[in-house]
C-alpha cells in the first residue's frame, strides 16, 4: 500500500510540478510596446527583407506580361499559358493572384513598428521620426507595387487593423495613388524632423549614400517623382508633372553622376539571406529574354547593338515551350550572380522621369536633352538631333523606348509604361489567336481577398 501511495504521489507530483506555460521557443513574438533599440533595428531591417520578398518575382511576372521575359518552366505551364493566354487565375497565389500578399505583409510589418515606435523610450524623438520616415517610405513603395499590378481595379488601404476585424474597404486607384503620394510626404516630414540624427539601424549596402535621414529623403523624393509621373500620365496631367519636377529637384538626380547611382535591394547567400532569383546560369536558365528585345534594339554608330542590350542579354542555345511553341535563344545577364543587387530606383530612371515630366509640361527641348543624354551615355547610340521638333506622342515613344532598354528586367517597367500611356496594344502578341490580345492590363484581385468579404 505504501508503494501505491508513493507512486501516486510521484505521478501527481510530477504532473503538478511541471510548468505547462511553454513560451514560443522558435521565433520572436510581434514587436511590443517600448521596444529596445535592437528590436527596433530588427523590425526596420525586417521591412527591407519583407519588401524584397516578392520583388524579383514581381519583376519576372510583370516582365512576362509586358513581354520582356519568358519563363519556360517545365515545372509549371502557367508561365506560358496563364500569363500569355489567360484566363488569369485569381485563385493561384503564384500567378494571377500574386503580387499582393507579400506586399501587404510588409505593410503590416511597417504598421506594427509604426504603432509602437512612439513608446520606444530608448530612442530619441528624432530617432523615432527617422524610423517613421523610413517605415512609411518603404510602406509607400510596397503599396506602389500592389497598385502597379492591379491598376484597373482598386485596392484596400486602411489595413492597419486586427486580423479579426472586417477587411479594409477598397478605394479607387486614383485615391490610392494620392494616398501613396501623401504617405511619401508624411514620411518626408518625419525625415525632416529627424534632422541630422542617424538612423538607429544599419540600412545595408543597398542604401549606400542614402543611409541617413537627410540623404534618405532623396530616395523618398525619387519615389515621389515616379508616383507623380505615373499620376500625370494617368490623367492628372500638369499639376502632377509639376510636382514630379519638384520632387526630382529634391532627389538624387544628376546627369553627371553614374546612371547606376540609386537605391537597391541587396541579395546574398549568407545564412538566412535570399539569393537573387533573377540570376540564372545563362546556359541552363529557364528564364529567357523576349526575342523582340533584340529585334527592336538600335544599332550603334560604329556598329553593334545598343550597349544596354549587349550588357543585359546574351545569345544561348534555343529553347521552347507551349503549344504552339514559343522559342527564344536569349538569356538575361542583367544580374551577374546570386549576390547581385536589384535596383529599386536609380539615376537613369530619374533622368527619363524628368524628360517625361518636361514633355507633359510642354518642354520638348528639355525632354529631348535628357532622352539623348541617356541614348548616348547608356546605349552608346547617336543622339537624335531633331527630336525636340517631333510630335509629343513620338517623343513619348522615344522616352518609353529608352525606358524599355534602360530599365530592362528591373521593375516590370515595360508593362507599367505601355499600360499607363495607353499603348498596351503595342505589346507584341506571339501567337495570334492563342494569346490574349492585347496583353493583360492588370492582375485580378486575389480570390482570398474576394472570398473574405463574402458573408
Amino acid at each position: 500500500m505504501k508503494a501505491t501511495n508513493l507512486l501516486l504521489i510521484l505521478v501527481v507530483g510530477l504532473a503538478g510540478a511541471c510548468d505547462f506555460n511553454i513560451v514560443n521557443p522558435n521565433t520572436p513574438a510581434s514587436i511590443g510596446t517600448d521596444p529596445s533599440r535592437a528590436e527596433v533595428a530588427a523590425a526596420a531591417t525586417g521591412l527591407l527583407i519583407g519588401s524584397r520578398a516578392d520583388y524579383a518575382d514581381w519583376i519576372l511576372d510583370a516582365g512576362i506580361l509586358g513581354r520582356e521575359a519568358y519563363r519556360f518552366d517545365p515545372a509549371d505551364p502557367r508561365f506560358v499559358t496563364e500569363f500569355l493566354q489567360g484566363p488569369l487565375d485569381p485563385g493561384s497565389g503564384a500567378f494571377g493572384g500574386d503580387h499582393w500578399a507579400e506586399e501587404y505583409a510588409d505593410i503590416r510589418s511597417a504598421n506594427q513598428l509604426l504603432n509602437v515606435i512612439g513608446t520606444a523610450s530608448k530612442l530619441t524623438a528624432q530617432e523615432q521620426d527617422a524610423v517613421r520616415g523610413f517605415a512609411q517610405t518603404i510602406q509607400a513603395f510596397d503599396f506602389l507595387i500592389v497598385l502597379d499590378g492591379h491598376t484597373e481595379d482598386s485596392i484596400p488601404l486602411d489595413v492597419n487593423r486586427a486580423v479579426t476585424d472586417p477587411p479594409a474597404p477598397f478605394v479607387t486607384n486614383d485615391s490610392a495613388y494620392k494616398y501613396v503620394s501623401a504617405l511619401l510626404d508624411t514620411a518626408q516630414n518625419h525625415l525632416n524632423l529627424a534632422g541630422a540624427t542617424a538612423f538607429p539601424f544599419d540600412l545595408g549596402s543597398g542604401f549606400t549614400g542614402f543611409n541617413s535621414p537627410a540623404t534618405f529623403i532623396k530616395f523618398n523624393q525619387a519615389l515621389k517623382a515616379r508616383v507623380e509621373v505615373y499620376r500625370g500620365s494617368r490623367g492628372c496631367g500638369a499639376p502632377c508633372y509639376t510636382a514630379a519636377l519638384a520632387a526630382l529637384g529634391a532627389s538624387f538626380i544628376d546627369s553627371t553622376a553614374s546612371f547606376d547611382l540609386g537605391v537597391y535591394h541587396a541579395y546574398g547567400t549568407g545564412p538566412g539571406d535570399l539569393a537573387n532569383p533573377l540570376f540564372q546560369d545563362p546556359a541552363s536558365a529557364i528564364q529567357f529574354a523576349h526575342p523582340s528585345i533584340r529585334d527592336s534594339a538600335e544599332t550603334k554608330p560604329g556598329g553593334g547593338l545598343d550597349n544596354r542590350y549587349t550588357s543585359k542579354v546574351v545569345t544561348r542555345a534555343p529553347a521552347s515551350a507551349g503549344t504552339p511553341a514559343l522559342t527564344s535563344n536569349l538569356a538575361f545577364i542583367r544580374y551577374s550572380g546570386p549576390s547581385a543587387s536589384i535596383p529599386i530606383i536609380r539615376n537613369e530612371e530619374l533622368i527619363l522621369l524628368r524628360a517625361e515630366a518636361n514633355l507633359g509640361l510642354s518642354n520638348p527641348v528639355a525632354a529631348a536633352t535628357d532622352i539623348n543624354e541617356v541614348r548616348v551615355k547608356s546605349g552608346g547610340l547617336a543622339a537624335i538631333g531633331s527630336l525636340a521638333a517631333q510630335s509629343t506622342p513620338s517623343i513619348l515613344g522615344q522616352i518609353l523606348k529608352q525606358r524599355y532598354y534602360s530599365l530592362l528586367y528591373e521593375g516590370g517597367h515595360r508593362w507599367i509604361d505601355m499600360r499607363r500611356t495607353g499603348r498596351i496594344n503595342q505589346i507584341p502578341i506571339d501567337r495570334p489567336g492563342t494569346d490574349r490580345a492585347p496583353a493583360f492590363p492588370t492582375l485580378p484581385i486575389p480570390t482570398d481577398e474576394v472570398l473574405a468579404r463574402q458573408p
Binding site: A43, Q280, T323
Partner: protein, 971 residues
Amino acid sequence: MVKRTSLITLGLLLAVGVATAWAQQRQITGRITTAVTGEAVVGANVSVVGTAIVALSGDDGRFTLAAPAGDVTLLVRRIGYRRRQVAVSATQSAVEVSMEQDVFNLEAVVVTGQATTVEQRNLANAVSTLNAEQLNRAPTPTIESALQGKIPGALIQMNSGAPGGGGQINLRGVTTINGGVDPLIVVDGLIVSNDAIPSGANAVTAAQAGGNPHNQDNPVNRIADLNPADIDRVEVLKGASAAAIYGAQAANGVVIITTRRGQVGKPRFTLTQRLGTSEVAHSLQSRNWDSTAAVAAFGAAAAPFCKGGCPTFDNGGNLFNRRDLSTETDASVSGGTDQTAYYLSGLVKHDAGTAPNTGYQKQSLRVNLDQRLGDRFRVGVSTNVVHSLAQRGLSNNDNTVTSPYFVFAFTPNFVDLRPVKDAAGKDSFPVNPFAPSNPFQTVALLKNDEDVWRILGTANVKFDAVTTERHHLQLVVNGGVDFFNQRNNILSPPELQFEPQDGQPGTVVLGKNSDLRLQLTTTLAHTYTPASGSYSATTSGGVQYENRDLNTTSILGRSLLSGQQNVDQATSINITQELQPVKNVGLYGQEELLALNQRLLLTVGARADRSSVNGDPDKYHFFPKGAASYRVIQPFGGVDEIKFRTAVGQTGNPPLFGSKFNPDATGTTGGRFGVTVGQRAGDPGIKPERQTEVEGGLDAQLGNNRATLSLTLYQKTVSDLLLEQTLAPSTGQLTRIFNGGKLRNRGVEVAAAVTPVRTPELNWIFRATFFANRSKILELPVPTFQTLGFGTSLGAFQIETGKSATQIVGTEGVVGDANPKFQMSFSSDVDYKRWSLGFLWDWKHGGDVINLTQLLYDFGSNADDWTSGGQQRFNTWNSGKTKVYVQDGSYLKLREVTLSYSLPPDVTSHIFGGISYARFSISGRNLLRFTPYVGLDPEVSNFGNQAIGRNIDVAPFPPNRSFFFSVDLGF
C-alpha cells in the same frame, strides 16, 4: 488507509485459507490437442470453474491440476482457440480436450481502458482486432501496408512507392481540417511518436516555393520503425466512442499494438529467412514522335535525334528497372517458467529499391521480459532498438525539374538518357537537351539518405493489492520512453546537370532531428463480484503524464567543390531549428458492469486532459463516454448468438504545436537580422477539437460457429474545429488559427467471415469487409476557403458549408471529391493438409485524384495519347475546365497472396536432429492492380499525410510489387 490495509490482510488470509481448504483433494490429468490436426496445445490455461485453481499445459499439451472432490467443470482457454468447458465427474481423473481454432477472433480480449479489458464477445464497440497471422500473411516493409484492406472503417494508403514507407491510416472519414491527422499509436502502453520530419529535399526540388507553403519532401512517418514480425496483435479503436479513454489526443482513433511475449514452456526458437525482389509495378509511357512534330515542338535541337525517323527509348522503365535481391532474416527465442517469461527477437532486413541508389535497410532487436515477484507483483519490460536506413531517391513535385517523372514528362522518348561508359570505364551521363536534368545522372549521384536510430522501452508493473473471491484490486504502473534520432543526408553534387542553374553548384543538407517522449501512467482497477455472482463491476481510474521534446535542426549548404560532402565545405550556409516541447496530463476514470450472466455490459467513463499546446494550459478538457452491449443466445435457428451494442463518446484533437502563438518570421539581409510579420496568426485561446461519436451495431455468430457478421453504423460530429482560416491577404497575414465550425461523418462498416469448409483436411476461411463514409461541413463561421492544392485551375480542396469536406473545385466549380464511394476487401485462407493459400483483395471505389503528372506530360505535348486525346485534354483544361485532370482514382489491388507448405512431422523430426516445424512459402504483395486511372498509382499523396488534400499526384515514386520466398523453421 487503515481500512484498505485491513482489506489486504483479509484478502491474504482468505487466499491462504481457500488454498488450504482445496488442497490435494484429487488430481486430474489431461491432454489438450487441436481439433483439426490433433497437435498438442501448449500453454493453455486450465481452470476449475468457481475456484482459483489454475494450471497450464506443457509442451506435450499435458496438464495436471489438483481439483476439489465432486463433479467439477474445467474451463480451458488459449489465445487463438475457442474456449472449452469440460465436465469432469467425481470419479474421472483423466480428460482429453480438443480445442477448435478461434478463426473469427471471438475470444480476443480487447483493451477498453488504460488497464482494463473486455472480451470481444461483450465488447460494445466495433473494435477491429488483428492477430499476428492476419498481419503477416505476406512480407511487408511497414505496418501500414500490413493493415491495408483488413480494417473496415479504415482508409489506409501509402503516399508513394518510395522505399522506407510513408503512409496514412485514416479512420472513419475526415475528423479534422487543419489539426493533426494521424491516429494515436500505442505500443505496449506507450504513446509512440509517428512524426513525419521532412528530409530537406526541398533544397533541391524547391517544391515549397512559388507561393506554396506546404512541404512536399515525401517524408516517412516514424511508425515505419516498428518491426511487423514483433507484433502479437493490433487493436484499432476507430472513433470517439471507443477511444474516449485516450481523451484529447484520440480523435483520429487509436491503434493499440501489443508485441509478442514469452509463454510458459521450453525455449522455442524460430527462424524465418526470406529472399525476394521488388520491381516497379507500373510506369508511364510517353508520346512517340515523328521528326516533323519533334522539330516543330523542340526546334532544331530535335533534328539530330530523328534522322530517318525518331527512335524510342523507355527512359522511365530503364531508370526504375532494378530487381535486386531483397533479404530478411527474423529470429526469435521465447519461453519461460511460471515465474519468468522472455521473448527475444532480431531482424535484419534489406529491401532493394527499384532505382539505383535507393533501398531500405532495417535492423531490430527486441527483448521482452516478464517476471513475477512473489504472488502480487508482476513486472514486464519491453525494449526495442531499431536502426533503419532509407535511401529515398527524389520524387514528388518540384520547381527545378529534377524529380525523375517530372523530367520524363518533358523529355521526348527519342532521347536516350542512359549513361555510356567513357574511355576510363566510368559512367558518362548524356546532357538532357530538353530539360534541366538527366534523372539517370541524378539518381546515380544524388544521395537522399535517412538514417534512424530508435529506442523504445516500457516497464509495466502490476501489483495485485487485493485478491479475494469478491474483490480484485490492481495497481498498474506503466512507464516508458521513446527516443529517436533521425539523420538526413542529402548531397546533390555540383557536377549534376541542374546544379549550376542557381549560380551555386552543389547542395548539401544535414538534418539532425530527435524526439524524446517520456510517459508515466498509473491506474488503479478494482473488480467486485458479489456472492451471488450475478454481476461484476470494474472500477478503474488513473493519471497519465506525457512529456514530448521534438527538436529538428537542418543545415543547408550551397556551392560545393566536387567531391566534398560536409556542410562546412559549402560557401553559403543556412541553418534552421525548431523545438516543439509538449506536456500533457490526463486523468481518467471508468466503470464497467458485466451482468445478467455475462450478457449485459454497461460502461461509463470520462477523461480530463490538460496540455501545454492549449491556449490555457491549466484548463482541463473533459471527454465522457458510455456504452452498452447485450448478447442474445440462439434467438432463432441458425443464429448462435447476436450481440446488440451501442456506444457514445467524445475525444479531442489537440491544437498543433504553436497554434497559440502569434510568431513573427525572421531573416537576414547582408548579415543583419530582421523580423517580419508571420504568415499565420495564432489564437491565444485555442483548445482541442471535440469529436462526439455515436455508434451502434450488432455482431452475430451464425450456423453453429461457421460464420460471423458484424454491422456498425456511426455518426461522428466534430465541433470547435481547428480551422486555419484564410484571411484577406490585405491584412498582411495569410491565415488565422481558431476553433469554430462543425463537420459530420456518417458511415457504415460491415465485416463478415465464413468457413465454408471445415474438415480435418481442408479448412477454408473467407472474409469480406465493406465501408462507406460521407462527410459534410455543417457549420463554418468563416467564408468558404481553400486548403491544399496548387490554385483553383489545378484543382483545390475547398471547405464550404453544406458540402463534402473533401470536395475538389476547379475553375468551373466543383469537379470531384477525394472521398471513396465505398471500400471493400475480400480475403481467403485455405488450408489443405499441409498446404495453405491466402490472398487479400483491396477495392476502393471512387475517390478522385488530381492527376497533375498527366498535366505535366500534356504540357510537354508528351503524353503517350497526345495526338489521340492529350492535346484535346490540355486545350480543354486551358479553356477553364479543371475537371479533365480530376480523375477517378478507383482501384482493385491484390494486396497479398501467399502459398505455403509445411513439412510433415516425420520429416521435420529428422532435420537438424528434430525441429518442431518447417514451412516454405512464396508470397507476393501488390501483384495485380485494376484501375481506370491513368498514372503511376491512384494511391498517392504529394503532400504526405493530410486530413484533406491527399490524392494529389505529382511525379511520385513509382509503386512496387514484390515477391518473396520464405522458409520458417521452429525449434
